[in-house]
């Protein structure tokens, strides 16, 4: 496995995520699991702790999670908790979770109660992004840093944190570069391959991730076997996609997935951390304000005195217009996991916005189940038929 490079390596890591983490652990490193996009990785990297993203497994039927979490919640979270309960994450030294959404918060407590990790920290990420919330968030990150330092047995210094930020910013820049290979038609890298790389990055220490990215970029920029041209270029928006099944289905039809706005993708990697004098300031702002997940409420005008729906939509979703333009997108697939409130409320509003842009969209809801894809396939195919003739 070690000899594999570039895309092949990414695929191998994607298929066996914990392999490298376990090796590192055996070599004496600390590995910490994190849920969702909110715990700042830089702080872990600064202490030489390896952050490892907690994900679910779409092919594993959920059985244990039902004994502590009801079935009417986000199936991704249920799956992740289920894996935890089945001891698939027992190689971790601990976990850090955040108040990214309601279920994630509740699941954090449940994880702590039933899995009793040696290290556990909960970051109560605020829901708003005004000045008091950013200040609060900064304090929360400082508190997180303290517990991490205890675990690591050393201190986070301004220097080490800045170094870590640079490493992660470098990763982000490389990801953006990789994404730019999706702009040509046909794209140089498929949606499935991209997602495999993203998952791999979330399973490796940042330096190894950066190496991998460099290999991939090198490989892709010169590849002879790039994906074929397809009839439609799609953007996918919405809930977490931590496995390739949905994208595979879409790309198996006559479509290229050229851009995403999901959190194992651009949403996670896009914004850089500003190198502020006190690095915590930059981190606090980046993770609360700059990550564009609908879980954060943003005032979009003069302190909320007035309100204008169009302006509100523009402020919230304007980046989608840029994505669509730069990646030459013809249609948008809005997808949400069933029971995801965060994305569910957003759907009609994103639809309104895209309609205003004249960009066709389709909404699909899924259960995080491989076999439930068949009816979705018909939907996507019909959507493509509409695009084709449009």
């Amino acid at each position: 496995m070690a000899e594999e490079k570039g895309l092949a390596r990414a695929r191998a890591v994607y298929r066996n995520r914990r392999h490298r983490a376990e090796e590192l652990k055996a070599a004496g490193k600390k590995v910490i699991g994190y849920l969702c996009a909110y715990p700042p990785l830089e702080m872990m990297t600064a202490l030489d702790i390896v952050p490892f993203r907690l994900l679910g497994d779409i092919n594993e039927p959920i059985s244990k999670a039902d004994s502590c979490l009801p079935s009417v919640v986000c199936p991704f979270i249920r799956s992740t908790l289920d894996l935890g309960l089945k001891q698939r994450y027992e190689f971790l030294d601990g976990v850090v979770m955040a108040h990214s959404c309601d279920v994630a918060e509740k699941t954090a407590h449940i994880w702590n109660i039933y899995l009793k990790p040696d290290y556990f920290h909960f970051i109560d990420t605020p829901h708003t992004a005004g000045p008091s919330a950013v200040a609060q968030h900064r304090g929360l990150l400082a508190a997180f840093g303290k517990t991490l330092e205890e675990l690591a047995g050393k201190k986070i210094t301004t220097r080490s944190l800045k170094e870590a930020i640079k490493l992660h910013n470098r990763q982000r820049a490389l990801v953006r570069q990789l994404y730019s290979f999706r702009k040509p038609d046909p794209p140089l890298i498929s949606g499935v391959e991209t997602l495999q790389v993203m998952v791999a990055l979330m399973s490796l220490p940042v330096t190894e991730g950066n190496e991998l990215l460099e290999e991939v970029i090198n490989e892709v920029s010169r590849r002879q076997d790039s994906p074929p041209q397809k009839k439609a270029r799609l953007l996918v928006w919405g809930s977490i996609l931590d496995n390739t099944s949905l994208i595979e289905m879409m790309e198996g039809l006559d479509a290229s997935l050229v851009m995403d706005d999901t959190c194992v993708g651009s949403r996670f990697f896009w914004p850089d951390v500003e190198l502020t004098e006190d690095p915590l300031d930059g981190l606090a702002r980046r993770y609360l304000v700059d990550v564009k997940c609908p879980r954060t409420f943003r005032q979009t005008n003069d302190g909320g005195k007035t309100k204008d729906y169009r302006a509100d939509l523009e402020a919230r979703f304007g980046y989608l217009k840029e994505y669509a333009r730069d990646w030459n997108v013809q249609g948008v697939v809005l997808q949400s996991l069933r029971y995801c409130d965060i994305h569910g409320y957003e759907v009609p509003q994103v639809k309104d916005y895209l309609k205003g842009l004249g960009l066709p969209s389709i909404y699909i809801e899924h259960d995080y189940q491989q076999t439930a894809m068949a009816p979705l396939k018909t939907r996507i195919q019909a959507f493509l038929e509409i695009l084709d003739r449009g």
Binding site: P61, I62, D66, S67, D367, Q369, T371
Partner: protein
């Protein structure tokens, strides 16, 4: 002479038992068809005929399962979960957990040594947790219900089902046949899917020593195997699994019969 009758009016089958006077219990079963009241009526008449008894010979009757409206004299209605627990406790005093696979739902019952219910969970919101799921599958595979167990035991590569819906599992099965999967593999997959669903409930209730399987689903050797593999224990399976609830009802009829005078109206 004291005779007691237990009637279990199920969604597909109605089961009845007469006990008393140290005689082995007398069993009878008929399809519930569309009319539960008629089923109860027919079941008790046929049972009586079989036992060669008259209505007035029966000291007390407990009716459970689906039943509505006013009851005749000396009849009492008791919740089926209680009857089921009582029936199992009678057959297997060591049982502490029951998996009861009925037509419309599967459920997990935990019980004390005296056969009292200490916890119960049903797979209610969806039909995919009951025996009906098996019937639907047997139907599309054109297999007799009695054959699905033995066939499933012959499976080599069970098909993996993940859909949660009994109705959609049907189309999934059809697609698998189209792809060339063997009937036995599909059946084994169905058994595993059902066992997975109910095992998750067992997990929730907590598996203790002495786990019994009953209800019509326990007639299915494929399902029994799937459960045993999933739970890693040997299951206690009664000889007449479909009659357990009726048996419990008859036993409770015996208790009420004896306590007749003390009974509250």
């Amino acid at each position: 002479m004291k005779w007691f009758m237990g009637l279990d009016i199920g969604s597909t089958a109605s089961k009845g038992i007469i006990t008393g006077n140290g005689r082995p219990p007398l069993y009878h079963r008929l399809p519930s068809k569309a009319d539960y009241r008629a089923a109860a009526e027919a079941l008790s008449s046929e049972l009586l005929a079989k036992a060669d008894l008259r209505r007035q010979d029966i000291t007390a009757t407990v009716i459970t399962g689906h039943s509505a409206g006013d009851l005749p004299a000396k009849h009492r209605r008791i919740a089926d979960i209680r009857c089921c627990a009582r029936g199992i406790a009678h057959l297997f005093p060591q049982a502490r957990t029951i998996i009861d696979v009925q037509a419309m739902s599967g459920r997990i019952i935990r019980l004390s040594a005296e056969g009292r219910v200490t916890d119960f969970i049903s797979s209610e919101l969806c039909a995919a947790g009951g025996g009906r799921f098996l019937e639907v599958m047997a139907n599309i595979l054109r297999v007799e219900l009695d054959d699905i167990g033995p066939l499933s035991l012959k499976a080599r590569k069970p098909v993996h089902f993940t859909t949660g819906c009994a109705v959609f599992a049907e189309s999934e099965a059809i697609s698998r046949v189209a792809e060339g999967a063997a009937k036995e593999d599909i059946l084994a997959g169905v058994h595993q899917a059902l066992a997975d669903k109910l095992a998750a409930l067992v997990e929730r209730a907590g598996l203790e020593e002495g786990c019994a399987l009953c209800g019509g689903g326990a007639l299915d050797s494929g399902l029994i195997k799937a459960f045993q593999e999933k739970l890693g224990v040997n299951l206690l399976v009664p000889e007449q699994p479909q009659f357990v609830t009726a048996l419990g009802a008859a036993i409770m009829a015996g208790e009420t019969g004896r306590n007749e005078d003390k009974e509250q109206p």
